[in-house]
């Protein structure tokens, strides 16, 4: 996916010509010759007429060296301490009022886009609209069909597209205001408008593509979060959540502070039935922690499970012809096999052991989990007779790192950031698992 996106960008860049964004130039370096040609081909005369001043390369160089730094400075200067939406908006206001001609607005917008995650406004459509508003209106709208055909004001268009792309990467749906602004700035046929149309085509289609959506705002309280996650894994509407212990801190006799971790468990009636039928001679296992990712948060759960029932212990309930008062539950046909009949149908049947219950806690040591098991005994008295083995990983520590791990805003590949983050975390995840199985 990332690859495809890069390709797409490359194409875009070629289309827009060489005077594209500063940040992209490095990407394109392998084929400068081709670009030179392209540029000449793409630029309309009108462009040259309007902006005959300096060669494009010159401006680029200047930008590279000075402008972004200046703009970054503005952000640092205005919003020194608290980086919020309000201060971000103030920076934008300061810029727009600074200069009627809005000199350097493309650079400013690029800098602002980069700064957005820092200010925590990367998912706010109004902020994007405000940024778009920085563009001077009506100047970049092509006036005739030739201008429309060729790349009119490529740098500005590219900047507009870049802004929309960042919106896309953060999953921000443009609104009508965005559309109106784009119309005012680039006209109905500009590349940003096309980008907007593509966004509006795909975004609604994909909005509900996930049948198990994670809400934007996850509950803050660990107990609520655990309830939410357990419900999500269990996928059984009958499953009942029990809070075995609320988190609290207490002073013990010697004055030391003890914290009690929260223990939240889930079990469905069918799991209770299954456990009740479990052969008490065979042990059950408490295993974990297993990770569950909810957007950028990773939580851990533990399961109570047993090995699959060996075939010799399986009892098939014999058919009782006196079971149903009204109709035969089975047809008692004396069917024989014939020579041509195939004996076995190929059905892949993999037996998995039953999972009896799940729980979440923030402190996965044996003592805490023991508390969970004893809590479970209230609804499952049979647990008192079954040997319970704890097979726990000490992996939590490493995993904790992955939660805290926050890669700094990756400037080049912002769009792929959430993915890479998840992937690295998952890799960290798998290591203890592997070790765990080897231990066995």
């Amino acid at each position: 996916m990332k690859c495809a996106r890069c390709l797409f960008q490359l194409q875009n860049l070629r289309w827009f010509g060489p005077c594209s964004a500063v940040a992209r130039v490095r990407l394109l370096q392998p084929c400068p010759l081709q670009m030179q040609e392209l540029r000449h081909f793409h630029h309309s005369r009108a462009v040259l007429k309007i902006r005959p001043t300096a060669p494009v390369e010159f401006i680029e160089d200047k930008e590279k060296n000075k402008k972004p730094i200046v703009q970054d400075d503005l952000f640092e200067r205005v919003a020194k301490k608290n980086k919020t939406k309000a201060t971000f908006n103030r920076v934008v206001d300061v810029f727009t009022k600074q200069d009627v001609r809005r000199r350097g607005h493309v650079e400013f917008i690029y800098a602002a886009l980069k700064k957005m995650p820092e200010f925590g406004v990367e998912k706010d459509v109004t902020v994007y609209n405000k940024l778009l508003d920085v563009f001077p209106k009506e100047v970049f709208i092509p006036r005739n069909f030739i201008q429309t055909m060729f790349n009119h004001y490529p740098r500005q268009q590219e900047c507009g597209v870049q802004l929309l792309e960042q919106m896309e990467n953060y999953g921000v749906m443009p609104n009508v205001e965005t559309k109106v602004l784009l119309l005012q700035i680039f006209g109905p046929k500009g590349h940003p408008m096309r980008k907007y149309q593509r966004l509006m085509y795909w975004f609604p289609k994909f909005k509900h593509v996930n049948p198990y959506p994670v809400p934007l705002q996850l509950p803050e309280d660990p107990v609520d979060l655990a309830k939410f996650s357990l419900n999500r894994i269990a996928d059984d509407l009958d499953a009942k959540i029990t809070v075995y212990q609320m988190p609290c801190t207490d002073l013990n006799e010697s004055g030391q502070e003890i914290t009690f971790p929260h223990i939240v468990g889930i079990q469905s009636p069918s799991q209770i039935d299954l456990l009740a039928k479990h052969n008490p001679k065979r042990p059950v296992f408490v295993e974990g922690p297993f990770p569950l990712w909810l957007k950028k948060i990773c939580v851990y759960y533990y399961i109570l499970r047993a090995d699959p029932i060996p075939p010799e212990e399986k009892v098939e309930e014999p058919y009782d012809p006196e079971r149903c008062f009204d109709y035969p539950l089975q047809l008692d046909l004396d069917l024989d096999r014939d020579l041509g009949d195939e004996e076995n149908f190929d059905v892949e049947d993999l037996d998995e052991g039953p999972v009896f219950a799940m729980c979440m806690t923030n402190h996965g040591d044996q003592a805490t989990l023991n508390q969970w098991i004893s809590g479970l005994q209230e609804t499952n008295p049979i647990l008192g007779h079954i040997p319970t083995l704890f097979r726990l990983d000490s992996g939590t520590r490493e995993l904790q790192v992955s939660v805290d791990f926050k890669p700094g805003p990756n400037q080049e590949h912002q769009e792929s950031k959430p993915e890479t983050e998840e992937r690295t975390a998952e890799e960290v995840e798998e290591q203890p698992q592997i070790r765990h199985s080897m231990k066995q």
Partner: protein, 604 residues
């Protein structure tokens, strides 16, 4: 191997359908002339018409001619019917019974004096000793009030049936006389909170007392009709039985008197319809039942229950027919007098259609009910449980449609409590539910038929393997016929005639079974109609031309329905939407709610 069996079976059903195609125009002669493709029997001859349809055989001897009763019996029944009819039209206030949710004692006494509490009890025990046919005739009239009909049915169609069919001579002598006069009222206690048709989940338990003279019954039963005041109850409970040295729980039937003590009845249920009938929970707390009160043998309760349930159903046909006939009278009067746009309601096509539907349904129900009753009255051991189930399904569903159409004729007027129609609608709603829900009975019909046909076919195949040349030739002939284009692929066999794996689980293919049952219901209905009409023609009954008209119309309709259903049963039939239906249901059920988002919702 078994492929052939099932293929043949499905083919048979189809062929029978075809035969009726030929005969739907009322030319019963065609049916009579049809070549008798009688396969050799591996079982002794039994009276079974519907089951043999599964084998592709039309046992005409069973259904033609339409059963008649002797002149003496006709006289007797008309003497019986007149006072009952008078009683129901003059002394029964159905509206009041419905309003007060109670049948007044004087009405009950009137019923008892007429002998309606002992209709089928033999005369030697003080009952009327009516045959099934005569019982069905009286049910037509008692059905005019749903509450009374249900009370009577709970008393004698199921409540005391156990004693009647499986009780010992002593039990009969002891209980039947009082039950016949109505001094004692009976009830049938089978259903439990956790058990409808599932015998394995019956929790009520009977344990033998230490001296071995009593059983102690513990448990509770729900939805017991007459449970509030019944004096004698047929109770089914779990007992421990030793079988080949292994102790097993089996169901046993008991006669329990309220006088034994320990029986408490709950509050009567507040129901939608049949409000005058008493339905409540009955709890048994260490009720001592003497050992001689076991019906049949210990552990044999399952058979008793099945026989009672299977035998009680046929009368619903005549009850529904009686009710519809009454409704036709009531609504046609309204339709003829009410004017719209200077036209009588009865001149509008859509209203006329409703009356035709009602008449047709009543006619079919009557025919089926009396045909079945006649078959049951024939000497010998009749096996009419499938037929009875068919009658029950057809009449309960037809009854519901007719009653609501009758109400529709009256429009808003019918919806008010000033007219009896809304009461009929409410009363009628119970018919598809009780005495075995229609869904369960459909399963019963198709599975019993398949079991029957399957046994015979597998037996035949075994014979053939042993080298019975005649049989092999017969089968080869059938195969040849199938190869010449008479066969349809029902998707039951794979390549090289391998049995489709789904055949082992045909019991779980409820949608297929439902269609098979529906086909059979239509076939039986057509048979009954044809049989009755041909009799009417031959003996020249009054208005038999109208009967022919009804028969033609119904048979054409049923024939097309059957054709459609058989097409649906074919492999890859585009008419068959079962897979999608199942998918929709699963998604909705997994969600436990309506799945789609609201039409007014937006994504941007």
């Amino acid at each position: 191997m078994n492929v052939n069996g099932i293929l043949l079976l499905s083919k048979c059903v189809k062929q029978t359908g075809k035969r009726f195609l030929a005969s739907h125009a009322g030319k019963q002669a065609v049916l009579l002339q049809q070549q008798q493709k009688r396969s050799f029997r591996t079982q002794s001859r039994q009276l079974a018409y519907a089951k043999d349809l599964f084998m592709g055989q039309v046992n005409k001897k069973e259904v033609f001619p339409f059963p008649e009763i002797s002149n003496d019996e006709v006289e007797e029944i008309s003497q019986l019917v007149a006072p009952v009819e008078k009683f129901f039209s003059e002394e029964v206030d159905s509206a009041k019974i419905d309003r007060e949710a109670k049948i007044p004692p004087e009405t009950l006494n009137g019923l008892k004096e007429l002998g309606l509490f002992g209709m089928q009890i033999p005369e030697e025990y003080g009952g009327l000793g009516l045959s099934n046919t005569m019982y069905a005739r009286l049910a037509e009239i008692t059905a005019l009030d749903g509450s009374i009909a249900v009370t009577l049915a709970a008393h004698q169609a199921i409540g005391l049936k156990g004693i009647l069919i499986a009780g010992s001579e002593e039990q009969k002598k002891k209980y039947l006389p009082k039950l016949a006069t109505g001094e004692h009222v009976a009830a049938f206690c089978l259903t439990e909170p956790g058990s409808g048709s599932d015998a394995a989940s019956i929790q009520t338990r009977a344990t033998l007392s230490e001296d071995g003279a009593h059983y102690l019954i513990n448990g509770s039963k729900i939805w017991i009709s007459n449970g509030g005041f019944a004096d004698i109850m047929t109770v089914f409970a779990r007992t421990e039985v030793e079988e080949k040295g292994v102790k097993k729980d089996k169901i046993t039937a008991f006669i329990v008197e309220r006088a034994f003590g320990g029986i408490t009845s709950g509050k009567p249920e507040d129901k939608l319809g049949i409000r005058g009938s008493n339905t409540c929970e009955v709890a048994f707390d260490n009720v001592p039942v003497p050992i001689e009160n076991v019906i049949g043998e210990v552990g044999g309760g399952f058979k008793v229950a099945m026989n009672i349930l299977n035998s009680g159903r046929f009368s619903m046909g005549s009850s529904s027919a009686g009710m519809i006939k009454k409704l036709i009278e009531l609504t046609s009067e309204y339709a003829a007098s009410r004017k719209q746009f200077n036209k009588n309601l009865s001149e509008f096509g859509m209203i006329q259609e409703k009356f035709a539907l009602m008449a047709m349904n009543a006619y079919v129900m009557e025919s089926m009910a009396y045909l079945t009753a006649g078959m049951m009255d024939k000497p010998g051991l009749p096996d009419c449980s499938v037929e009875a189930a068919i009658v029950k399904i057809f009449s309960s569903e037809g009854g519901w449609i007719c009653v609501s159409e009758a109400l529709q004729v009256l429009g808003g007027v019918g919806y008010t409590k000033n007219y009896p129609f809304e009461r009929y609608v409410r009363d009628c709603r119970i018919l598809p539910i009780f005495e075995g829900t229609n869904e369960i009975l459909r399963m019963y019909i198709s599975l019993t038929g398949m079991q029957y046909a399957g046994k015979i076919l597998t037996g035949k195949i075994k014979e053939m393997k042993k080298g019975n040349i005649g049989l092999a030739l017969g089968m080869a002939g059938q195969k040849l016929r199938a190869a010449l284009g008479a066969s349809v692929d029902y998707g039951l066999t794979g390549k090289d005639g391998v049995v489709h794996p789904s055949l082992a689980t045909i019991v779980d293919e409820q949608l297929v079974l439902k269609r098979v049952a529906d086909v059979l219901i239509n076939l039986y209905a057509m048979t009954a109609v044809l049989s009755r009409t041909s009799r009417s023609i031959s003996i020249g009954l009054r208005n038999h031309d109208h009967e022919v008209l009804l028969a033609n119309t119904f048979c054409t309709e049923a024939h097309f329905k059957n054709n459609y259903m058989l097409t649906q049963l074919q492999k890859h039939a585009p008419e068959n939407n079962d897979a999608n239906i199942k998918k929709i249901a699963t998604q909705v059920l997994n969600n436990r709610a309506y799945v789609c988002s609201h039409p007014l919702e937006r994504t941007y």
